[in-house]
Symmetry: C3
Subunit: 348 residues, 3 copies
Amino acid sequence: MWRLADLAAAVAAELVGDGERLIRGVATLERAGPDQISFLANPRYRAQLAGSRAGAVIVSPGEPVDTAHDRLVIANPYACYARVASLLHPPVTPEPGVHPSAVLHPGVVLGADVSIGPQVVLGKEVVLGDGVVLEAGVVLGDGVQVGARSRLAPRVTVYADCCIGADCLLHAGVVIGADGFGMAWSGSEWLKIPQIGRVLIEDRVEIGANTTIDRGALDDTVIETGVKLDNLIQIGHNCRIGAHTVIAGCTGISGSTRVGRGCRIGGGVGIVGHVEICDGATISGFSLITKSVTQPGVYTSSIPSQPHRDWMNTLAALRALPELSRTLRARQRADAAQSPKNLEEGLP
Amino acid sequence: MWRLADLAAAVAAELVGDGERLIRGVATLERAGPDQISFLANPRYRAQLAGSRAGAVIVSPGEPVDTAHDRLVIANPYACYARVASLLHPPVTPEPGVHPSAVLHPGVVLGADVSIGPQVVLGKEVVLGDGVVLEAGVVLGDGVQVGARSRLAPRVTVYADCCIGADCLLHAGVVIGADGFGMAWSGSEWLKIPQIGRVLIEDRVEIGANTTIDRGALDDTVIETGVKLDNLIQIGHNCRIGAHTVIAGCTGISGSTRVGRGCRIGGGVGIVGHVEICDGATISGFSLITKSVTQPGVYTSSIPSQPHRDWMNTLAALRALPELSRTLRARQRADAAQSPKNLEEGLP
Amino acid sequence: MWRLADLAAAVAAELVGDGERLIRGVATLERAGPDQISFLANPRYRAQLAGSRAGAVIVSPGEPVDTAHDRLVIANPYACYARVASLLHPPVTPEPGVHPSAVLHPGVVLGADVSIGPQVVLGKEVVLGDGVVLEAGVVLGDGVQVGARSRLAPRVTVYADCCIGADCLLHAGVVIGADGFGMAWSGSEWLKIPQIGRVLIEDRVEIGANTTIDRGALDDTVIETGVKLDNLIQIGHNCRIGAHTVIAGCTGISGSTRVGRGCRIGGGVGIVGHVEICDGATISGFSLITKSVTQPGVYTSSIPSQPHRDWMNTLAALRALPELSRTLRARQRADAAQSPKNLEEGLP
């Protein structure tokens, strides 16, 4: 429980109304009760605000609030909501300690207050910063380093020599540092090219469930500070993802590609290898990038569905388009040859 | 071994032939031997039926069987085959009991005849229904509930407070209840929005290997009764998937989308967030849905491959299409201005 | 450390320069130092070669080397590099032995020098060949066989009765043999069709992190010798992937499809079920295959992104294309009816 005035002070918002009101948690405008706080970031939901039973709301200064709600007023209500929600719903952290079923190589170095869950396995010379949390079944290979306060959910696997920064959150099933997809054709079979680079993950990175990030072939794969990756993403060897870039689920990035800082990449996107995406670019979901992007902006190649028969007609017309284009160009040339001007010139 | 007559009775099919024949298992028409049963659901395979060595076959009443095969006759041979195969090949269930290497919080509640495999980890207040099977390495967070007879394959992870119904089957590597992809831009970094909803999975749901379903941000993510999900699917936070909907592999659904009941969604599909798909809709594989679907039917935007050079020609023509369209519209306007009617009107 | 002359002999390359030079490892032309070897396989990097500090380089006989680098000369420098790198950076193999926390069914059969890591779980009648390495948390179901020298990274799961050949490498989180996506509609619900086939993986197969390969419904799913699969790939039940085929990440192949030998399949590809891809076909990344491919060659349907507004224009024109095509065909018919020939015929 927080007093509303304390919340306002903690997030530097202006308080309007009863500072003594006790707030237990966050909820939607529709469902919040008198001990919950909600927010209005999108004018579309203004109608819900009026009828909301929420004990308090977070709104922007320009918001025409015709309600008696207690409220926090601040320029960026959604960011304020994120902060308030984090205060009211802090992550549940397990007690520090090492579960007896965990298997730690004798040489591991543990920071203060680390929590190591059941059946965790730590290889040679693993180093964990203060407050690191490793949940059940996490496996860290030899030489792995994890920075302070980072948390690895159950069954995260990190291969040897990879480094995770501070304040990271890796979700269940994430695999960091598996071999990149590198091989050479001998004439009769594919020869494996040893992948001897590492994965370096900087601070405050979040990685979604079952996402995979391959180690570099020679140099390292790098995920910079503040990057947020959704579930089931594949990042190939030697990629670099710039700071504060966000990538939605099911996206795949081939090897040696560099994505800039502050990019927003949708779900189901494909990016080929060996290209560069500049800072601040946005790639729409379900789109394909085949060459470098040098200007910020939005890039798209996705096609929304139509009713099947309509799409089949469109597709048939698309297949016939090269022939149609040729015919039209031929006729344009013929028309040009017979244009009035030519006719006049040809007149006696 | 089942007597054919017993099988017929168990699945309510009409028996034609020798009810005493002993049947050991199912097989394809091509490979079945005298102690195996096969089926004909697709007239394409009728030729195989005649030559099949199968001891018995399942056919529809209308089927012109000119063979001496013993047979089960029933309106829906494929569904009957599913039932017969399930009788002949019941899942191998491990013995009830708790493996000594499993780590159970003292407060867990276990139903009758549960089977808990090696290295399973159960958090505080986990509740398991009768006959639940947790295979090796399953991790259930605090407060997780699993309904009667549900089976979780090796290394399934369920985060705190999520609920799995009865008679569910979750395959290896599935992650239920990881945080949804929610964050707010502060002006300098992405702030995490705590994900405090749950995942609720109703009864008779099957979920394929390494599929991920995120917990809700505020409200819950819900997978209704009888839903079948293939491998490597991503379901975002606050989605609701309607009863008996099937979704093929590698499909991703963004947050807060509602899919209706009885939908059929192909593989590699993308559905954006905050849309609704009505009951009974079909989405073709590799298609993208960007807005709500309000009428049942088939929706498509996928493009089958062509030989590379042909496709490059098509793509070049597609790129030039906006210019071509503009040119043609301009000429149509010019033609209209010179049409016979106009010419006539212009005549003296 | 290897003498350069010994490396040359081991890979059957011609040595030019100082055979006594000691080589510690491989590196890029840009970063290599005097005890490292690099390679030039792509003429694009020729400029880097001249300035490289590498102690030795691998080049082709035709290469105009105007440098004083010691070198290995060989027809296929990239394949030679793969071999040299494998000699200089052999995989780190754990000591043979069985970790005390592993859970082995009494009937398992272990070859010589197997290494079984912490918390590995082996079911009934599992058979491991000589030198097999199972890393932490690997789970093998009843009756699984693994051939000599194969290595399974942490948390690989193999379901009952599946077979892995010799010299395979399966990365973390791989799931082999989960149930295929088979069910029959009863009229009111989906009935599960038991999946009683296996997965057979032949020799020298590499499988990337979190990739899933489903067991067959009746017959087996087969991955032939030398196949290389990247991360997050889905292979449906009863597929057969031909020898030495490579498939990049995030690709999905539906059930009962046969892919030929020596194919190259890009990332993010979809292949529908029940088709055949002939030997030696190449499928471009992000493309869809909906019917059998009978001729080798490259097949494509992917569309590279454009700036969003340009693509929206293209898309609008594409939507209008069927109507445009109809209009143009109608006019062509009308023009044909008024062609000079017709006009002449109509003259008095």
